[in-house]
């Protein structure tokens, strides 16, 4: 049955890709692009001409920043979430597990971190996923590489960084996020901490039969992309608007260079402090990036701010509480320490290099 489904899927997809998508996709992207180009002039028109605030005034700057960034970020988010939603329809956790099971460690860590980006993953699935991976023979360190990369290097973080801080920062974040996930997972694997998995987990014998693969058609995949947009953009837009509002306030009212003293390059202690502050804070990328953007503008160093962002997203207290169900305290502490050290290293590296 399962192999039948696989055959049907692989044979069916290539031919069932309707021509209309080839025609509609470029049209849609073109319309999106035209609209996107109009956002900056439109926000200026609205703020300075229609509302009549003076360019360069605190309120005028803050409002124009808000009116430009909000639709811009929401448009970017919609496009990317849609695309990623379609890509994710090709990956299931079951398939990822099959790829990773029995892998050698180093190669496995690299693969796991990359698969963490494209495999659909919701933080409430962290526990079943962990158990499913480990009991199927995915090495502990490889499993951690996946669990670290999945929330940290996500499309929302990368696209917001791209939209607000440019492609270089986005690429840097993505690359260093992957490296942290790979190295931290590898280190945890080297430490041989299998005995710090809770006993009940190791006793679980999973039956080999996984739910049948469902063959998806292209209309199904497009529908999944649209659902991802409705679901994710519907959920994060208040964070985006809130984050941009805070960012706009900082942009308009906080003086230039104000943060250089406490969050600048010369404050060596600011990187570990930023990471420590980030652990209990829990926010998704959508809320944190606009604030990060504004902080950098006012003199905060890029490395310090990126370290803060990574800590908020990747090291969250709620996730550790969830993982405590399957991991003993010692392993959670090691996980937090290794990832935390990785983030601090990245923070210092950026502050040194840039």
């Amino acid at each position: 049955m399962t192999s039948d489904h696989f055959k049907k899927e692989s044979a069916g997809n290539a031919s069932s890709l309707p021509i209309k998508y080839f025609l509609l996709a470029p049209l849609g992207v073109a319309a999106w692009w035209l609209l996107y180009r109009q956002l900056d002039p439109f926000s200026r028109l609205l703020t300075f001409d229609l509302i009549g605030l003076a360019p360069g005034s605190h309120l005028g700057d803050a409002l124009q920043f808000f009116l430009y960034d909000t639709p811009k970020v929401l448009m970017l988010l919609t496009l990317v979430v849609f695309g990623v939603g379609i890509i994710r329809s090709f990956f299931t956790p079951e398939r990822t597990r099959k790829i990773l099971a029995g892998r050698r460690e180093s190669v496995g860590n690299v693969l796991a971190a990359h698969l963490g980006i494209v495999t659909p993953f919701c933080s409430c699935s962290a526990v079943p996923l962990f158990i499913g991976f480990v009991t199927a023979g995915v090495p502990l360190g490889v499993t951690f590489s996946f669990l670290i990369a999945a929330p940290m290097v996500n499309e929302i973080a990368v696209i917001l960084l791209f939209g607000l801080l440019g492609w270089k920062v986005a690429a840097l974040y993505m690359a260093t996020g992957l490296v942290i996930a790979i190295v931290a997972g590898w280190v945890i694997g080297r430490l041989g901490m299998e005995m710090y998995i809770e006993d009940w987990v190791r006793e679980i014998r999973m039956s080999a039969d996984t739910p049948e693969e469902i063959s998806l058609s292209w209309p199904d995949r497009v529908r999944m992309g649209a659902e991802a947009v409705r679901d994710i953009v519907g959920k994060v837009w208040p964070y985006v608007v809130g984050g941009i509002a805070v960012g706009a306030g900082i942009h308009g009212y906080v003086p230039e260079g104000f943060l250089a003293g406490i969050m600048g390059k010369d404050a060596w202690w600011s990187v570990p402090v930023a990471v420590a502050i980030g652990i209990p804070l829990y926010s998704n990328a959508a809320g944190i990036v606009p604030v990060v953007h504004a902080l950098i503008e006012k003199g905060a160093a890029l490395g310090t701010v990126l370290a803060f962002m990574m800590s908020v997203i990747a090291l969250s207290l709620p996730e550790m509480v969830i993982l405590r169900k399957v991991l003993k305290l010692r392993l959670i502490a090691v996980f937090a320490a290794v990832v935390g050290l990785g983030i601090i290293t990245v923070g210092y590296l950026f502050n040194l290099l840039i």
């Binding site: 299931t92 956790p93 079951e94 597990r97 659909p120 993953f121 919701c122 409430c124 699935s125 526990v127 079943p128 996923l129 158990i131 499913g132 991976f133 009991t135 009940w200 679980i204 999973m206 039956s207 080999a208 039969d209 996984t210 739910p211 469902i214 999944m224 969830i322 169900k325 399957v326």
Partner: protein
């Protein structure tokens, strides 16, 4: 008598799935018992890697995503007729 189980720790997705399954069963006028499974050991007994999962008469029909009402209706009719 059908037994419909929703597997998941209780986040928003599980609640959405539960509502869809109930609606499908009600539309078909099926007599079904709904069970919420949030214990991880029990969830893992169904080999589900990502939640939410939907189990009809002890058979996993879907995991890791929220199916549409039409899909659930199809599964329910398939199981009750055969």
């Amino acid at each position: 008598m059908l037994t419909i189980k929703v597997l998941g720790p209780g986040c928003a997705n599980c609640k959405k799935l539960d509502a869809i399954a109930r609606e499908a069963a009600a539309n078909l006028q099926l007599d079904a018992e709904f069970i919420k499974v949030s214990d991880f050991a029990e969830i893992m007994a169904y080999s589900v890697l990502s939640t939410p999962g939907l189990v009809i008469n002890d058979k996993v029909v879907c995991a890791g995503r929220i199916p549409t009402l039409a899909e659930v209706t199809k599964w329910l009719t398939a199981i009750t007729n055969g």
